[in-house]
Symmetry: D2
Subunit: 482 residues, 4 copies
């Protein structure tokens, strides 16, 4: 059995990594008040493997060895469904916040597996073996992984080499030297999730490249504590939180970093793309195809929590019979369950890659993602509407404990006759934390931007749809002969 | 082989039925200019059975007998999917207009099968045998069926017996006499589709009833030419149509009637409910559960045609690269494909009734129906936007044939360089017929009202959703112990 | 008094004009079954001038002469408001369909007045005098005017001269010869409203032009019966209509034509632009600024009719207390009244042109137009929802008159207790004609495309908005010093 | 000159008031870290009066005395417009957060003025004089006012006296004793804004009352430090905020309290309603009519800030030319400017009360409010979409100052070539604070719930609209004679 314990995971993070938080170097991430919260959240992954209620889902046995299911390459629609359920369950335990220390990393490993195979077949390179060896290394050591894909980009209307010419060469990560033993890379990635609390970071290109951008067509993996790597953690969502007022965000947190590569050496066996600029786009896309499937899977607990807290508050407020409330609830249910049906359809309509890997259907995945993203703020508005203004005017938990105030506050929070006032206040605080706080804002922005913009999803939908069949039917109906 | 030919079907409609169109008694429906169009449309069903390209889907073989697949009671998710594909295919051949002469009738037969079994088990009645015998009669004779469910209702805020007290007893169909050999019924049903061109009409209650409404709790089936039955056909969509300007509606039509029961006798073997008022609601609902699944299946060609004509016109107009056009196209694709995924999920999440019948999952069916209905007008707007104002200002087909005008008109209709101007005009006429004509208006109203209102779908969604699980998750997140 | 009578107007249309309808030359437009309907509709303009209830609005007196108010150039916000009220009132009498035989023409005259003044000032031309003389001619003769602006365009991604190079020179109207006495023009315009039944047609460029397009930068006015002018009338909405089933479209109609200029001679005094390509865009835009204000004014009766028919049917159906109905009604009211407030704001925020003409505020006009256009289909859906499926399944008026059927049909159409069944049927037919018929489809397409596309409105909004002030406030809030 | 200085205002709050924050009694609100922030924010009102740039708007002179314009009762549309501009300007200085220490109080004074006049006329009471005297007291002393209207309500499906019967008598504030010198009141109000930092609190009933609820029909005004009054401040939005990361919420704050009346004595001259239950509804409504006009006025800087920050970030990110960005910007402009037009229309369509007070047009006010509220979350989504994911992953201000990191971070934040990276980071932090933080969530909830729910606005719209005229037009069109 090669699975790590939560303690082993935490301990592994004390490795000399260079992390800054609000301009200060963090001596030990595991004891940092904010990053420590993120590490406890991430430990859910290792706790699940130990927990008999979840280990059946979280762990697979192969030739007598036990491994985290995340590392198992999907070969069928059922495998994809199981992976989806694992991601959904972990996120459910994470209180609507994805754990992500293996989900995204294995998305990258699957994509690298597919694309390296294609590259080797077309170009005669030998990347597949390296990818396979690194995959095996991570799986056998039960490592936690981050993926650094999004470059800081600079001027969005210019490509990497164009910006270099204008004096901003580090807007994209690139190869600055090729040595006998490996490459040296430089530049910055942004929005890198969990980097503060994983073992390895996988670097992928963020977009298609032109020939002039060849040095920016680079992919590799390195330990987080590699010399030259600096992480600048974002302070967003880092405020100290009372756990009565903020039942989720006081305990659950994901870190994002600006990830600086200041002339970092990467040995050859960790290099997965080295200037093959025509393959930068395909690799970026292959990753995103897996990762959006991960994303729609981990959004399910969040939408369920929106539905559930709205239903609960409708009841506690005594308005569950009101027409407009029923209208909003039925909409919320439709929102959540349409997402669920689309997740399942994405898995069951999988495509088989030449190397035997099952790829979730990109058309359905992107429709699911767009459904989630373009309706999320409406869902938030409906929850807030049913919950009431008390979302942002409620008293504090400490008021309940005050000898003179406590009783008044309890009576103030009474809703429907027969319900518990403290339950109602807790339900309100849940809805407030989910929708009307730093954490709520974080979820809103993630809904729109994580795993690629809504515009990117539209493009993929157009590209993946069988427009020929649709136009052919229209021509038949119109009586146009070809 | 007991399947009828299209001719046999048409001939069977010359049976002395009493049909009025614009105040005039129709001597022979098969030769009527409008109803005849509807009969040719409905013949698609019988043509499919003969056509080797479709007979595999349309016909099932059982003990050496061939029967229309519509009559095969579904026993699994696969059966439901096949039925859905049959309905979709027939509608596709019907140029986006459902055929409906067996779809809805068998929905009623399945519902009657389920509910009569429950009634017999609870009440000791013997309705099941009658339903089974009637089902077998229809299947073995390959009959065309209509379902009369919606009563004219009168004042929507009052129940049947309340309106009778106020002098409007015929607002709902009811039993006015019970005789040794059967019952006598009276009243009116509205929106009865295809009545003019089917063999049998099945009558179902439209809603839950109170005890005082017992006489209104009635279900039965009779041949359309039964004495006392009068059909008043709606003239909507009956204008004569040039087939160049209106490629769909010049050839395809569905009839709706006001169906008058003026003291109509029904023999006992055709009576399926006789005053059991507690079962009126369940039967109405059971029917609707099957019928909404039929509905979402037959909407697929319509939404595909919207997508296809929009893509085709984007191309012919030369605007397929414009950002806002791509935006609208990706939305339309998402609209159509989400519906398709939900139809499939409705089948694969089926529930098994005690008698072995597979019932499509009501939650998913209703979410699918609401998705279709609440976005339909937006879809129409997007197609119209891409198509352009020429939808309602195009010249006529006859202008093309005029020796002096023809060339000018052809040049006027040129779009993108290299495309055929007549193709463009035909594609515009298709989009116009689909979205901006009597037929387009008919489809809009059907989107909202057919198979029950949007409000009814919301109610079902709320009732069918597992709110307990969602609230339980919210309670866990909120830290509420029970 | 120089105002014409309705008869004089009708008679003036028998002038040898060359009009085709469905491939057939129309010998006399005034007696044509479809165009005649449009002429009776257009006569509303001349009837208003005679009608003491409306003449105060429709007629202005100046130096003892009476003239149609349409020709009065607005000099203040109040003038614009009065003009808006006149347009609204005429359209109200036109049963939600704009009359348009002077509205659009004077929009063009005002735009030509403004732009010709600018051109003369900058270029030393003498167009103003010609425009003024033509304006006076129209006003003093009380003429009916059409405006031909939209060229057939061909490939939307190519400009006029580019298409000429590819063999489609007539995609835009252009000057093919310049003679001593005037110019010769050739090409086609589309969507020309009312051309069949006005006296003069004003031609304007449809877009900005490049230098290579100089010959396409042309504006002029000619009588409709000028040799070489051919009108191809669109058959859309031309079906014969029962006036019980279609209370609006059986009596009211607007014609649109493809307008062919086959080497048409225009004398110099009628030429308002002759190759000044830099001014084609400004003139197109100046016209649209006036015309969109006209448009939002004439949409008011249509949105009022949607609100009114929804309220009336809610009452007649007996559902006016239902929560979802009240929700839809309040939305419809907000939709209509927001448009009205924006129309008024467009007038009161007018800008004064150098020559003293009051121009409606383009920002507000375009916001109003976009508000109307982007919500129109939702409004239609809500009316259809409240009205019910009977919109497309109602019996015919003739059924009411049948001795045996009449009473049944009347009882079938009863709604709320105490209401008149025939009133309900009439109200349903109104809503059906407005929203679910050829006429309804026409209104939907007009909502999106008339007076320029929604995309054009967005562009104008962006261009007209004071972004500097908004960004400056954001900079202040962000603490960015400049 | 009777206007107070900011210092006088602050000093006046040290009056022994009983305020709790997180279960702890606050000894001095003016030095409390959170409430102190709110007090500094509220001081804007007194600063404006001193500032020559604003005093023309903020101060009115009457008979040689200078007073805050808030206290001037509006007598015309122009007065309402000026008041609206004052509210807008104060909120603009308040960085999108309303100041509210006089706005809402004077809304209550105007409503009390109108309704007390009606009561006196109908009932022979003498409330007007008391209201007038209290109004004069506040104006002459330049006091800050809060309004406590919303009761804690308990079970929303039950009225005040019904809940008392079920053991929750304090769900609504009520009279528990009537004495010679005044009344004694008891109960709780919630969502009371600014109570911690005003001088007087005005209590109004929250809804229509039944006869059994007579004791709950009570209105009065008392100093905040009156014995028996306890304020429990909500901790929402009270986290300490870095002013670089949170440019608005680090400096601007509004407090809300649960306001407890524990047998509080009110002398007769401060009692404005004393059991006249039929007038509770009218007073509640009269207040809301003024207050929603205040609300739509103070929302203008917020919507302007959304537009401005979106435009600024589109530019700084270098995406201002992208089609989808332009689409979102034009929508945001339309959203903001429609609100502005409706605010102005609400003022110019004012109604004159019998006592000469100008009341903003309730129909237009409510349409404006609903427009704002139902589109707010969409606006937020569009700003977040344009801004990018960096909204929640940006580095901290302190990172910029770090000697090693600073330069990297600056380069990471570079956007469009030539723009200042720190400006971009500041603009992102502004958008993040506005839309994706505790403050953003607060604004979202306020959009939906402040000044009454969206459902309340719908009801008012239905009630205030002239449905008769609309239905009459529909009847005319339908050919229904009455």
């Amino acid at each position: 059995m090669t699975l790590r314990t939560p303690d082993q995971y935490v301990t592994s993070l004390r490795d000399g990594r260079r992390v800054f938080y609000r301009g200060t170097l963090v001596p030990d991430v595991t004891t940092h008040p904010v990053i420590g919260r993120a590490i406890r959240h991430a430990s859910i992954d290792y706790l699940m493997a130990e927990d008999p209620r979840h280990s059946g889902l979280a762990v697979v046995e192969k030739n007598g060895t036990h491994r985290s299911r995340y590392f198992a390459t999907p070969c069928s629609g059922d495998d994809l469904l199981k992976r989806s359920q694992l991601i959904e369950t972990a996120t459910r335990l994470g209180a609507t916040l994805v754990v992500l220390i293996k989900e995204i990393g294995t998305d990258a490993l699957f994509a690298l597996g597919n694309v390296s195979g294609e590259m080797d077949a077309r170009l005669g390179t030998h990347y597949s073996d390296r990818v396979r060896a690194f995959h095996e290394h991570c799986a056998s050591q039960d490592l936690a992984l981050a993926v650094a894909q999004t470059d800081v980009k600079g001027d969005r209307s210019l490509g990497p080499s164009e910006q270099a010419a204008l004096g901003n060469p580090d807007a994209y990560v690139r190869i600055v030297a090729r040595r006998d033993d490996g490459i040296v890379v430089r530049g910055m990635k942004t929005h890198t999730s969990c980097t503060t609390n994983v073992n390895e970071v996988i670097v992928l290109p963020t977009r298609a490249m032109a020939e002039a951008d060849a040095d920016y067509a680079v992919s590799f993996a390195i330990p987080v504590n590699t010399p030259g790597v600096t992480l600048v953690a974002s302070p967003h969502g880092g405020s100290e939180r009372d756990d009565f007022d903020h039942p989720i965000s006081s305990k659950h947190k994901m870190m994002e970093t600006l990830t600086i590569f200041d002339d970092v050496f990467v040995p050859w066996d960790r290099v997965f793309m080295n200037g093959e600029w025509q393959w930068a786009g395909p690799l970026a896309l292959a990753f995103v195809e897996f990762h959006r499937f991960t994303a729609i899977s981990y959004k399910l607990p969040l939408v369920d929590a929106l539905v559930g807290s709205a239903m609960l508050l409708a009841e506690l407020n005594g308005v569950e019979r009101a027409g407009h409330v029923r209208d909003k609830l039925s909409w919320l249910i439709g929102y959540a369950e349409t997402l669920r049906a689309l997740v399942q359809a994405s898995a069951s309509r999988f495509r088989l890659h030449a190397n035997g890997t099952a790829v979730p259907d990109p058309l359905t995945v992107n429709i699911a993602k767009m459904h989630f993203a373009t309706n999320y703020h409406v869902a938030v508005a409906r929850v807030q509407d049913i919950a009431g203004g008390t979302l942002v005017t409620a008293p504090a938990g400490a008021d309940l404990d005050h000898p003179e105030l406590g009783d008044w506050v309890r009576r103030a929070m009474m809703g429907k006759v027969g319900t518990d006032a403290v339950h109602r206040l807790k339900a309100l605080n849940l809805a407030s934390d989910l929708t009307s706080s730093d954490f709520g804002g974080y979820q809103e922005v993630l809904a729109i931007h994580a795993e690629g913009s809504i515009e990117a999803q539209k493009l993929t939908i157009l590209r993946q749809y069988d427009g020929g069949a649709a136009k052919s039917y229209a021509r038949d109906l119109a009586g146009i002969d070809r």
